[in-house]
């Protein structure tokens, strides 16, 4: 079946430092990868959508300068949170899909900023 793994599961970083998280698709080709953030007590916000052979599209309030994303092949994507501050804490969720299929989501990377 289609699975998505995210790592690390949880991480702590010091305020002002950066943190990279990874997303691995298994059992299918991840032609599209979506990154979401769930801030404490809030719902999931789309950060950006990456589609192979297309430019990465960032949503309003999120930028490449802050959340650079790499999607080098059909099984892997990574996102870095640069200069993380308190407001960046939360659960970062990766969802991947092949073509127009449903997204398969990972379990998320929980980021704590101290």
């Amino acid at each position: 079946g289609a699975l998505v793994y995210q790592y690390p599961r949880r991480t702590i970083c010091k305020s002002g430092t950066s943190m990279r998280m990874e997303c691995q698709a298994v059992g299918f080709q991840a032609t599209s990868v979506a990154w979401y953030r769930q801030s404490p007590q809030k719902t999931f916000e789309l950060i950006a959508l990456s589609t192979v052979n297309s430019a990465i599209k960032y949503e309003q309030n999120f930028t490449q300068e802050k959340f650079p994303i790499s999607h080098p092949n059909l099984s892997f994507s990574s996102m870095t949170v640069l200069n993380a501050y308190l407001e960046d804490r939360g659960l970062y969720l990766c969802g991947a899909r092949q073509g127009h299929s449903d997204y398969t989501f990972g379990s998320g990377t929980r980021l704590l900023v101290i």
Partner: protein, 112 residues
Amino acid sequence: AQSVTQPDARVTVSEGASLQLRCKYSYSGTPYLFWYVQYPRQGLQLLLKYYSGDPVVQGVNGFEAEFSKSNSSFHLRKASVHWSDSAVYFCVLSGGNYKYVFGAGTRLKVIA
């Protein structure tokens, strides 16, 4: 514009009672609708989805949902809840741009 409204932030029900979690959506086209569940400190798990056809769709663990075009709704139901159903439930809309738009979530607490 696409949006999802889950009007109930928190719902508490007794174990064994029936459950309905409400979801209203706004989208001018044909929606794809999902319900996901998030257990404590975990990611998302798909409960069920609706694309077309029978407006009542069955999901895992005894959950079902009913799509209503006239009411722009996709309410989730379960006949008899168990304490292990305590979690946060998200209604999700996918429109023509393939983005998933999440509702705010409903936190379900099942009490003895």
